[in-house]
Amino acid sequence: MTERAQLLIELADDELILGWRNSEWTGIAPFLEEDVAFSSIAQNEIGHARALYELAARELDTDADALAFDRKPEEYRCAPLVQLRFVPDWARTIARHVLYETADAIRIEHLKEHEDAALAGVAAKIEREEVYHRLHAEMWLDRLGREARYTEAVEELWPYALGVLAPELRPALAERVDRPEVDAVERHAPGEEFAELWNEMTMVRRSAPVGAQW
């Protein structure tokens, strides 16, 4: 697999799995407006994953659905930050939201300058929607930023947030959130918590013969 396809799949896996985790709040968020917000953010993230898988699929001669759902759990490349299951912990959910969106903004800014026009183009398109995720995160940071449960969650998740980015982009994240750079939790073969998610996420697709038309 080329470096380009690998990069696209890492990004797509992050967006798909975070979208999935965000969607776990559908119907059970602490109040209705947040139910709408997290569901909508989840939908956007999964839409971004679809476009990124599509670009990878054109190169790998497969399709976006196959990349999203037909790989084995150990083949996913998503960052550990997005794999963690937080329901019903709102403080950690918001801490991840703020950290991920901040990291993702740095990654997208970088990708927009990519020499590959297709990659730069999809990054610019994704950025138009991500702006709203950051505004939402900003509102929550303003509300919870000084609460102990929130600051403890940020402390816990900080090494994971660094692991979302390639090493050369990490100093920018440390500067933006004003925290010292520490050892990151790197991308590695997904663990038990991811296996459960994968099992549920691919269950319907696996229930039908390969190549079934839906």
């Binding site: 407006e33 909508s40 929607e129």
Partner: protein, 161 residues
């Protein structure tokens, strides 16, 4: 013989699957039409990336070309060629008439929290500027929720992207 003009006219008759008051041409998702004999190539630039209506739009464009006797090829662009500034002035007016506040111009830059909370967003029903942001997000990726304190009407605001 299919002509480009006939294709554009046919596409202008296709309603947006989710906001049927405006057509796909009003929405600005048809970037280009090229006719070569019977073959009709449409460059389709999608709106919001998670929008479930994208497949329906594509199918309807293919059907419209087939009805004209052409062979459709709809290419989905994954680049940054669509923004809410691509919605035509006529499309904006139709949105407003349907109670759907059209997007603010993007040309002024990416939206900020201050802009969403403090800038003038007029109510599509009574035209009052006394409206507040209730939720950045709404029932579909393209909408925010606002409330008009003059006519006490909640309304949907097309997000600027």
């Amino acid at each position: 013989m299919v002509t480009e003009v006939a294709v554009w006219e046919a596409l202008a008759e296709i309603p947006d699957p989710e906001i049927p008051v405006i057509s796909l041409v009003d929405l600005g998702v048809v970037k280009d039409v090229a006719v070569d004999g019977d073959r009709v190539r449409i460059e389709f630039t999608p709106t919001f990336m998670g929008c479930p209506a994208l497949d329906a739009m594509r199918t309807q464009m293919e059907e419209a070309v087939t009805a004209l006797g052409g062979e459709p090829q709809v290419d989905v662009l994954l680049d940054d060629s669509w923004s809410t500034d691509k919605i035509t002035p006529a499309g904006r007016e139709k949105l407003r008439e349907a109670g759907f506040a059209p997007p603010a111009p993007r040309a002024e830059g990416a939206p900020t929290l201050l802009q969403l909370q403090k800038a003038v967003h007029r109510c599509p029903y009574c035209n009052s500027a006394a409206t507040r942001l209730d939720n950045i997000f709404g029932p579909t990726p393209c909408r925010s929720l606002r409330y008009c304190t003059s006519c006490r009407q909640p309304f949907e605001q097309f997000k600027t992207i």
